[in-house]
Amino acid sequence: MKRNKNLLATLITSTMLTFGSGAAFAAEYTISVWANAGSLENYRIDAIKIAADLLEQEYAIRGEELTIIIDGKTFTQWSEFKQAVTLAAEAGSAPNIVVSGHEDIAPWSQSGLIVPIEDYIDIDAWPISAIYDNLMEIASFQDQVWGIPQDAESRPFFFWKDHMKAIGYSDADLDGMAEAVRAGEYTLANVLIDARKMIDAGLVDEGKGFWPRPSKGGDYWQFYTSFGGKMDDGEGRLLFDKTSMAEFFQFFVDAVELGVTGKNHIGTPWDQWHGALTSGKVGMWHGGTWQYSEWTGKYGLDFFEEVTFSLIPGGGDNGQANTLTHPLVYLVTAQDDEDAVSISAELIAIASEPRINALHAIKSAHLAISQEETTIPLYADDRWAREATAVLLPYATAAPNNVNFGQYFEVMFGGLQAAWTGQKTVDEAIADMETELKAALGDKIVIR
């Protein structure tokens, strides 16, 4: 049906061309855009549509007739989305533009699935030149810029204010919480103690003192960082710091033993998780900046009244408070039609302009990709965007762009789950991880 429509459109365009317009140049492109997007994240694709409209007008002013049809497709599960993209690419039908996590740049560039976007647009020119340097760095691999950051976010730690007050914190303490966490005065050890106090005081149920993310996610690397772990050695090798990893696992094992976190917490349905923590049934939790829009919207949370937030607290002497940012990036895939690749890249550049990107940032509660964007009134007037940007972004780390990081991630999460649910002791889990990483990655990972 769609194909017929396209065919019809092509026919009409070409007929019009033959009989009249006389333009020097006329072309039609169907640009497909695939994204993993929740209900509030429609601008991942709609921004490209706005860009298409602008680009068509620019071409028209130059006297060239350009028609762009945007064919968007959204997914709701990361693994399903990535499976679809990689398999479509292998079958030779990759979408023109993919909105994916920056960690895909390494494997997808090595396999030739994507092409460096800087081969098609001028990264020294606005709006790309205005994007935060660290975000551009995250979108680069092997000295080339492969993608353009589509959003930034970070993953804070949250406290339910009333429960914190009930166990002895004052309003002033809570206002200073973000700073206390940043300075290392409030650590993960305090988290366990306070969570237990809340349960003992009858404020929350057993197992609901501290509620981590209920599913697999990059968030868990933050706790490795909290205990001083680093994900790579800065020279292209991944890094598995056994001590930090063990301390990180031990933290979750302790949380289970103290009864502040459930042994089978992973697998809790998302709506149950959101529902509990937006209604004061949970003392502390960690999540993502983007969840703000869901909590205040769908779940009716009066955020600044009920909740305060900070970086993820540090763990031990070697660690520090931190947060992880996981920007999604616009990527262009390799196509036979170089002009289509070029048009796709131009669309991405336009979609990255501050005013357009701010639509996505505010609607989905993500953070700005450039300093300029924070001055757009829509963004500047939003308290959450303003405060989250100031408290979190300067301390954000990101996962490395490394071909083998995906494998390391799976092994880490397998080990964490085994220790957390008591299937293995922490030492066994670490030893098994070491065996598996050595076998799978050899000299591509440093183990110490």
């Binding site: 494997p107 995906g406 991630f409 649910t421 293995k424 591509k444």
Partner: protein, 435 residues
Amino acid sequence: MGNSRHLGLFLLIPAGIFVFLFFLMPVVLTGIFAFTNMSTATGIKGGAYMITESSMLSMTGEYGEDVLAERLLQKVYTIDEAGLAAALESGGDAAAIKELKTRFLGEVFDNRRDVERAIKALNARPSSTRAIKLISANFERSVVNVRFETEEELLFAISDFGISLTEIQIEAVQKVAYTGWYFTTQNFKTMISLPDTKKTMINTLFYVFTTLILFNVGFALVLSISTHYMGTGTAGFFRSIWLLPRITPPVLYVLMWKWLAWDSGFLAVILEPLGFAPRNWLLDTPANAWTFIILINGIVGASMGMLIFSSAIKAIPDSLFHASEVDGASRMQQIWHIILPQLRWPILFITSYQTLSLLTSFEYILLATNGGPGGATEVWALATYLKALSNYGGALQYGYGAALSLVLVVIGITLSLIYLKVFNFANMTSKPKIE
């Protein structure tokens, strides 16, 4: 006679095509993929040649060529006559190239962006990024981070860069710079060395045989025999009820189990007054998870056996039952001496069919526990799926996944052969002695 034989062959063609497409091809491809390191990063269709920081790690690690690695990683861009000529030849903007020559001839840069910035600073700067790249590409003298489609191109570029390689070094460069897949037995070595492999295998055997014995054969027998002794209407009613799980969409079916089991679900609510704290009954302990997984699979699986066994029992001549009743046989004796012996063939069929189907089925486990808690219910087929087709970081391990599923193929075929032997297939299909 000859014609009808040909007709028979002709009619088999569709079946042949299906067997080829959906059995032989996948098996052969699995066999091939299993001996490769194929992944998202290597791609399936083949690779290119690249000198990168990462590939040079192997150069130092595996080959001890530290000096060579360092030289290959150098970046040099020279604006020289050869480059200018090549730029012109490849269709670069003539005015820009002319201005570039007068202003920058002989200059050396250590990264491409600076070359491009120089081009962009020209008065006659080309209008598009692609046009700039068309010119800048010609001044690269180094080889790092450049994608070469063939090894000849790479080796030529290296020698052009002024590095001469020994035979051993050429071999090393070819090996580490290749981004595509190659044949290897590493998958199987890895599989053997991993502690979780054994656990997954034990899980699989436990899952398959417990579900098979308790439900797919055991409970199916109970259902078919008990409905045999009911009136036609009642029997039909009970059989239909037991068919419902099979015709419920799996996602909904598992969702209902989840509602039953989670910590604010039905079980938690009715057990709380009895003194059991609310918990996620599905994921609380490995024993809980297994109980649910076997129930979820078994209740669906039993209905197939029930249908086959019931129709087989129906095919037993009524006269046998009447005669046995005249002889004073009890129901247990009827079951033992009449029904079960007649069900040998159906039981063989269900046992072998369901063993193979359980070995490869993981959809209910994926939906219910996804292998949890902590990998306790991860079976072989699920592990295969997760490795080969589901990776949070977008790095799918096709090769390793294929190696895992090859093991399943081998186990499946072996078990089938054993069943045929044990149940004496040849004997059952031999010609009746009486006629």
